[in-house]
Subunit: 220 residues, 2 copies
């Protein structure tokens, strides 16, 4: 399976690229608005993997070309870019599963808050903007990017996932192939706001608890 | 310190009563609308503790009398009773810290949702209804009642806490004295809605993941 990581040059994209390359045989395509920047980061990821004895090519493309190559396309872009990126790729993803990890967050004097889009959630906004996509799944909202990108970290954390059963099952399987990462089903797309709202809570906890630098959550 | 558990005959109240009695020397007072029912459950808790070699008296009172005896008063009552119970005890808690674990939750076809009161949260509603209380703290919303009440369970879970610094510190210390239970600061009372919203998410996860029968959450 080929996994395209749009915005794969930063934040959560880097961690997912490294983990899928290290732990699975799936094709990994790093996307960026700038193809040169995508290649530069893909080279970095290859070097990081090589330093651990993993010889693994990472593809690099401009976002639209990356999306066209992906069976699964992860929108690892800043939330305020999601709508534009999805508009750009909407014609390229007819057979793909789109995965949205983006969350709208605002900050006030006491902490971080979930900026709920009027349509219900960022994930539903993606589904609305890409009506021809095979399916849209919400996942990875609550993963700590720094720990995900640090291959010395054993993770031991869960991510929550929403969407149609078939698509969700494919994304859950891909996710479970990453060692130390688990998935929990949070129901259909209509529940996306519930899992998106967890991210600002984690940031608020980080703000008030200095021992929580890159907060992960585990359910048991 | 004396801890009064209003609604201490059921749900989260039973677990907190047993744990504080088992793990600390603090006075534990079980409150109920019916004093006889409170005594009956307190006898049960004493028997449960005795069966584990712990000889420990548990006091029992009608809710208002229990509140008058508590330095810390936990509102372990159903959310739709919180307002009435607080109105009943408001004159008795001038020197007490009120702790609210109640959350308003509704259910629809896809899962559980947070019923956010117009004042912001159930915890802020309590603060509004008991203006003479020493302080109001939100805590214990996200604890699995069954596991808390099972003294064979090692817990290993966190609860999130909001409120004024001084009161929060006292409640956090009391909580940390329960083995296996940790607290994380979620900021001032204004953040109560964030921690209350975690509870319906846990119920939704329970609905979709059969291995999660009594969901606990841990942050790291």
């Amino acid at each position: 399976m080929d996994i395209a990581l749009l915005g794969g040059t930063g934040d959560i994209g880097e961690g997912l690229a490294l983990r899928w390359a290290a732990d699975t045989d799936h094709g990994v395509i790093v996307g960026s608005r700038d193809a040169g920047r995508a290649r530069e980061k893909a080279d970095e990821y290859e070097a990081e993997l090589a330093s651990r004895g993993i010889d693994r090519p990472i593809a690099a493309e401009e976002n639209v070309a990356a999306a066209a190559r992906g069976d699964v396309v992860v929108l690892a872009v800043p939330p305020y870019h999601v709508r534009d990126v999805v508009a750009d790729i909407a014609d390229e993803v007819a057979d793909a599963i789109l995965v949205n990890p983006a969350v709208g967050i605002s900050r006030d004097e006491t902490g971080f808050n979930y900026d709920k889009p009027s349509i219900g959630s960022v994930t539903e906004l993606v589904a609305d903007a890409a009506p021809d996509a095979d399916a849209v799944v919400g996942a990875y909202h609550n993963l700590p990017a720094g720990r995900l990108a640090d291959l010395d970290d054993d993770l031991g954390m869960d991510t929550l996932i929403v969407g149609d059963e078939d698509a969700k099952s494919i994304v859950a399987d891909l996710t479970d192939e990453i060692e130390g990462l688990g998935t929990l089903d949070a129901g259909p797309l209509a529940n996306a706001s519930q899992i998106e709202a967890l991210t600002p809570l984690l940031l608020t906890l980080k703000q008030y608890n200095e021992e929580l630098t890159d907060v992960a959550v585990q359910f048991s």
